[in-house]
Subunit: 334 residues, 3 copies
């Protein structure tokens, strides 16, 4: 509440309206031909047809049943065949902003609340060193299970053996640092002198063993994950300008309902000049990896619903996820 949430990507808003639910609020997103974007309650105030069944016009969005026309602010600006437009003829609107190809929606705790700030920037999407791709996933699982997964990359050795996994023991024994402040949680895992996993070898001409890093930054509405590797001994983990193979992930995680979520991700990489089609390879293998996560997390959630009252035990890799859960619990309490 009172926060910017990821609502999708710019390339998803074409000439048709787009229906999505965020935090239990069913919305229709659209962009008019002249480029204005809007997010409205997805329900005509006349007979309650979803406005996402309607059509985008220059002036806004027209309902597909009796033709009422709404502007991006939710005001009804035309009732066909009727001169007077009643004051009640309006639907709730939500601030929607495009920034760095990401659509951000602001949801306040009252209909009149307005955002005091702009949504976050994400400069990677316009950084000339990087190329990227991504997708929008729907999860039949609550959002915090996605956080758990992204904040504890030790599962790579069991879930993602075919792509970014590698030796499970190396993963589980990686040096782990967890810190952060305020709403931010940072998890860093370093795997010096390790074997490159399949995706790394395919994307970059490593000469042998690698120094590999994973830096995860949790920011409530999204996570930034910087992973990569250098040939052993060719750089320092604390050098922000270090060379080698880089993958920078953007992960917007927005609750849909209590038991479902949206997961909006991009992966950006620095293609090696001697390798062809690296970006497509990295995006494809990342998508395959994230589908593996989705399978695991949705199975986990179905199982948590079958066994509703049992305890979990904690193990060493849960430090990051547990810290993020405390951040959310604190926000919910406040």
């Amino acid at each position: 509440m009172n926060r910017w949430w990821v609502a999708g990507f710019s390339w998803e808003l074409k000439d048709k309206p787009l229906a999505r639910t965020f935090l239990g609020r069913a919305m229709v997103l659209f962009r008019t031909p002249d480029g204005r974007v809007g997010a409205l309650e997805d329900r005509c105030c006349h007979k309650e047809l979803p406005l996402s069944c309607g059509a985008v016009e220059d002036a806004g969005l027209r309902c597909g049943y009796h033709g009422l026309l709404f502007d991006t602010g939710g005001r009804c600006i035309e009732i066909p065949g009727q001169d007077r437009i009643p004051a009640k003829a309006k639907v709730r609107s939500y601030p929607l902003v495009e920034r760095d190809k990401i659509l951000w929606v602001w949801i306040g705790d009252t209909p009149d609340a307005q955002p005091a700030d702009q949504p976050p920037a994400y400069p990677v999407h316009s950084d000339p060193r990087y190329q990227y791709g991504g997708d929008s996933f729907h999860y039949d699982a609550p959002w915090q299970l996605i956080h758990d997964n992204l904040l504890d990359l030790s599962h790579l050795g069991y879930v993602h053996t075919k792509t970014i996994g590698g030796n499970p023991t190396v993963h589980m024994n990686a040096k782990l640092t967890v810190d952060g402040q305020g709403e931010v949680v940072r998890v860093v895992r370093l795997m010096p002198n390790s074997e490159p996993p399949p995706t790394y070898s395919a994307a970059w001409p490593f000469t042998g063993r690698i120094d590999r890093w994973q830096e995860v930054e949790f920011r409530v509405s999204h996570l930034l994950i910087w992973t990569g590797a250098m040939d052993v001994g060719t750089g320092r983990f604390d050098d922000p300008e270090r060379e080698g193979f880089h993958m920078r992930g953007f992960h917007g995680v927005t609750p849909e309902t209590e038991g479902s979520a949206h997961y909006f991700w991009t992966i950006a990489t620095n293609p090696h000049p001697d390798k062809d089609n690296v970006t497509q390879l990295v995006v494809d293998q990342t998508a395959a990896t994230f589908y593996e996560d989705k399978d695991v997390i949705e199975a986990q959630w179905r199982n948590q619903q079958r066994f509703p009252v049992r305890e979990q035990i904690d193990i060493h890799v849960d430090i990051g996820p547990n810290r993020a859960r405390r951040v959310i619990a604190g926000l919910l309490k406040a």
Copy 2:
């Protein structure tokens, strides 16, 4: 309650029993080889298998599990391997009558109540000037949303642009008269000097603009809709014997459950001698049109369930539907 409801069409009762639920009552409909029809509770009184899983015989309907045989009145007349038939061996039956190719079932508020009258006649089905076709639709939406749709044809300009629609502004501005008495609501919309919509042009050799009419008569269990058009200036809207292109629709709307309904429709037309296959064209385009309505109404209902407590606003075209809703509300109160 205590009323005849449309249960289907004569051509639907062949050699197999037919399962349908009306007003929450699960029934099996069947016709014996000698032509008697029956409507029984769809549950054998022995082990509760649906009788619709059984087989029609000369004497009635035989259960598909242990062979109990029931007549059209619901009495068990044979228990295989057992001489005595207990008095409790019976299932509830409902009066079922075929009239003008329409199946009508009477549902009373007690099991012993019987109808005092015959079901309504529908002479169009045997009028030599007309040819017709139709279908039985199942709606995942409550019956009154279908009434709303049929009593307010202003939606044609937005929903049915490809068939019977035409210019939306003409539709929304059409002269509208609403009257009626008792349980009957009549809505008349006249569109003199308008453009013929696609279906009209395909079915009739109009020479140019048309005088178009829509007369809708709501009768609780069904609606009669008479639409059509004449070449401009060639007849009077108040002449019941006027010439031109006619479409006469029968629309049986029977609740299945609180959130679902049956919609039994036929469309009859007077084929022009110079045009081939007009009846099939009119039936096919009407079916396409009614599927468009079904899409809209089911989307509307799903959305009403997502937004359960919000108000609707009324606009000018809601006069007819609102009057019919008052009729139903009055009947439910009584």
Copy 3:
């Protein structure tokens, strides 16, 4: 409770774990490469992923998310990357025994309860006179409806006309004897001098009419059904070593939930030397027959849920099923 239940067949446990729920307890069954079998609660004690998503190893079953390894007793014996294994790191295990190719699981009313006896033997599976096949069915219906069906074979004449049915009147009029003691119910139906049904004629060179028998033995967790036939007058029904065509059915019926069940069956026959492929024919036609039963029983259950409070009437063939229902009611009361 405190009883052995059929959990499946030996040939179902290969190199992958198998997820099944018995009496509301979600379990994972597995066999290690050296042949030990285990049944564990299907939920990792760490993050609750089903253990059935994991992998079988020499030492036990490894979770597919973070690699925790459990032995057949449910103890966690490895947490990757962590030396200490907390005492709470365990999952509930259930005694699982293979006997005569049948998997039996014992479910006690407390986690610590242990079986005092071995599961029942089923020597038919190793009898050289017989060959057999079978399958595991899942039923969307409660287990007692399957008992009813198996204890009252009078339905054969209506449900299984294409295979083991035959003349319905002969079936309904067959001499019926019901006895038993303790938890056992025995139903015997004799059809001397009757027509062989299709499966019988296909499997055995009968010369004309047959003396046919059906002996059903209900034992709470399973039923044993011995059916068969001799050429008329060539043997006695009370001779346990009588000649002719034999079918011996094993029918494990294990509740899954209150409204669903597992049905594990095999059918064994004594192939006639002059007939080819008799066993496959008998197994295939039995499977077809049991699918017919499944259709009927699931339709019956759906219908019982539509009509939740109605009475049933009893007929003459219900003596066996009703006696078995009294056995179960007595056990539930105790």
